[in-house]
């Protein structure tokens, strides 16, 4: 491996099977993850073509998108959801794939369970029929979200046909101020570079801000690489990565772990690594960030005013006006004080134990405002168990939040958890697209879990920094 190669290119070259006639690389996929929504048609394709799964042992299935978070009795009340459940159960049985089903204590959102089981490791290529597969990049894995046809390709051949993207290093340096979290960093980057700024790129997140983040914080950052248009995002493996993985059930153990760790660390982009582009930001410029519009780039610091239409490039005016109209907001208006109806802490962006601790720290001893419906949906059964052991569930329920079972829930509202009408939701998820949370006219404000709780308690968007313990400010 050449000294000046970045991690992305090292891992890509190692997994390159060859070049296809189209000029695309045939790329070996080290780990495939599947779930109930984007896999049934892929299994059907295999059946039609009489193919089998080449490496069932390199494929793991879970159920997350359609799981009800209240009444989980089978058969589900939603007949269509029940069909999808039976389909993945039958398909996994027939094709010999391990399934973390509802009765498995390891079940949860696919991007939460992979890392917590130690399946996600540095140097892997990974694929999943879900765009937020970029989450796994937090470990220095190269992880791609793919469509259903590609899910079938990976099952049949353990490979994908892909063009090598360029690599952009996004450097953020400095310490985050109290009340500013990984979610704010990732929203800030998208705001600065735009929702299509990353098209054609893999993002390497580097700099002291990411160096000092925990693995869970790094996952939040990489999770939203896709919202910035990037094909994937990653952070170089370091001692934090190794320490997180040591002892996890699906990681190598003993002497093999030490050999693995040595290899993992050797993959990191060195000081002389070359990039196609470099962008640098300062952590001191980032404050708690909230979206005001209908794309994840339409965001602002909570103390700022919604920008005027005129401040955008002329080519964006139609879109900005459409967003303001849909959201019922005006240019020049403060985002702080915007009334909310629903508060959602959850999703593969922010449903891990550290997210719930951060949320509970704000909820403790306070109460959700009258008329606000507030939900906490842990990312996995293991996260739920850990939170219950720490008493976080009690803090939430005493504060007036509903404590639910693990799943995607109101991130995309394929289960019964949905917005009604034009409700406004303060959400720790990753997409504020029109209709994303289950009501065609519902409105979403993306923010960190702590900010969601602050909004739930005040009944409107609030700067969480006003609610921090005085000692921390």
């Amino acid at each position: 491996m050449s000294q000046n190669q970045n991690l992305f290119n090292k891992v890509w070259d190692l997994h390159s099977v060859g070049t296809l006639q189209s000029g695309q690389t045939q790329l070996f996929i080290g780990q495939h993850l599947i779930h109930e929504v984007t896999s049934p048609q892929a299994f059907e394709m295999l059946r039609e073509r009489q193919l089998t799964v080449l490496h069932p042992e390199r494929t793991l299935a879970t159920v997350d998108h359609i799981i009800p978070t209240q009444n989980q009795a089978r058969p589900f009340l939603d007949v269509l959801a029940e069909d999808m459940m039976s389909a993945i159960e039958k398909n996994c049985r027939e094709f010999g794939i391990e399934l973390l089903d509802l009765d498995d204590k390891r079940q949860g959102i696919v991007h939460v369970v992979g890392p917590e089981l130690g399946l996600t490791q540095p140097g892997l290529t990974m694929a999943c029929g879900d765009s937020h597969t970029s989450t796994h990049g937090a470990f220095g894995a190269i992880a791609f979200g793919i469509g259903t046809s590609q899910v079938a390709y990976v099952m049949a051949t353990q490979t994908l046909a892909m063009m090598r993207p360029k690599v952009r290093k996004i450097e953020v340096n400095g310490e985050l101020a109290p009340g500013v979290f990984a979610k704010d960093v990732t929203l800030y980057i998208i705001q600065k570079l735009g929702v299509q700024g990353g098209v054609g790129y893999a993002y390497e997140y580097a700099g002291t801000t990411f160096d000092s983040m925990s693995m869970e914080e790094r996952m939040t950052v990489c999770n939203m690489a896709i919202e910035g248009g990037a094909r994937c995002g990653y952070i170089n493996p370091d001692q934090t990565t190794v320490d997180y993985l040591r002892g996890r059930p699906l990681c190598p153990q003993g002497a093999e772990f030490d050999r693995a760790a040595e290899w993992w660390l050797s993959l990191a982009s060195g000081p002389d690594a070359e990039f196609d582009d470099v962008v640098v930001f300062d952590a001191a410029d980032i404050e708690p960030t909230v979206t005001w519009g209908i794309t994840p780039a339409q965001s602002l610091g909570v103390s700022q005013l919604i920008p005027s239409v005129a401040s955008y490039d002329a080519s964006e005016h139609t879109l900005i006006r459409e967003a303001l109209q849909y959201m019922g907001l005006d240019e020049g208006q403060s985002i702080e004080g915007t009334k909310i109806d629903v508060a959602f802490v959850g999703s593969c962006t922010n449903s891990r134990i550290s997210d719930l601790r951060e949320a509970a720290a704000i909820a403790r001893g306070r109460h959700v405002a009258d008329g606000v419906k507030a939900l906490v949906v842990p990312g996995s059964q293991q996260v739920a168990k850990q939170a219950e052991e720490e008493g976080l569930d009690k803090i939430f329920t005493e504060a007036g939040f509903q404590w639910r079972a693990a799943g995607c829930s109101m991130c995309l509202a394929m289960n019964p958890d949905k917005l009604q009408g034009r409700e406004v939701c303060a959400s720790s998820s990753n997409r504020n697209f029109k209709g994303r949370q289950g009501s065609p006219t519902g409105r979403t404000l993306l923010m960190s879990p702590a900010m969601v709780v602050a909004a739930a308690i005040s009944g409107s968007v609030t700067d969480v920094r006003k609610m921090l313990e005085p000692a921390l400010v």
Binding site: Q41, L51, R231, L319, A413
Partner: protein, 198 residues
């Protein structure tokens, strides 16, 4: 697989930027185990809120070439999005730019997704609006979208273009053909070999 070199049809303009996959096919219609019937739900929520949405207008009901703005298909990886457009009747998409996963999904289904300049998109929108029966022809060899005596230049990455024009857009057969190379790659990956190779 069939070679896709030219696609002809009438146009349907949807001249907005950042059309995401949740708008193309809202998540509730993903509760299905086949793609059958998904075409009728294309843009369902947008259509309900806007009676004038192009997908509602009688004059565009038989259109095959969708014209849109920047960053078309951003958001989720759901193949349900191009599947619903395809099953609604769309055979090609012309936009200022595309989100990558959506673009790849289109190619895998044999649907050309080509880019044109903002100026070209605006011009196409105007001519289609003026005459919805106007026949457009997307020519992937010439990289043009022709109508009447005129044409708009389009672009497409070479790999996708040649995959379509040579009929290799369903890459499964090619991927399957290299069993030995796949095994050789697996044999050199440290994590598949107890990290002994490192």
């Amino acid at each position: 697989m069939q070679n896709v070199e030219t696609v002809s049809g009438t146009g349907i303009p949807l001249l907005l930027d950042d059309i995401d996959t949740d708008r193309i096919i809202p998540a509730r219609f993903l509760r299905c185990v086949t793609f059958d019937g998904i075409g009728e739900h294309a843009f369902e929520d947008d259509r309900q809120q806007d009676p004038n949405h192009p997908f509602n207008q009688a004059r565009f009901q038989n259109s095959g070439i969708l014209v849109s703005g920047r960053n078309f298909g951003c958001g989720s990886s759901r193949e349900h999005a191009p599947q619903s457009l395809m099953r609604w009747g769309i055979k090609a998409v012309v936009a200022e730019s595309f989100a990558e996963i959506f673009f790849g999904n289109c190619t895998a289904l044999g649907i050309p997704a080509v880019c044109a300049s903002r100026e070209g998109i605006t011009r196409l929108g105007a001519v289609i609006d003026a005459d919805p029966t106007l026949e457009l022809t997307l020519d992937l060899n010439a990289l043009t979208l022709r109508y009447g005596e005129e044409s708009v230049a389009v672009t497409m990455p070479d790999s996708a273009r040649s995959a379509l024009t040579t009929g290799l857009w369903d890459s499964l057969a090619q991927l399957l053909a290299r069993k030995e190379d796949i095994a050789a790659t697996a044999a050199r990956l440290p994590y598949l070999n107890n990290y002994a190779a490192s």
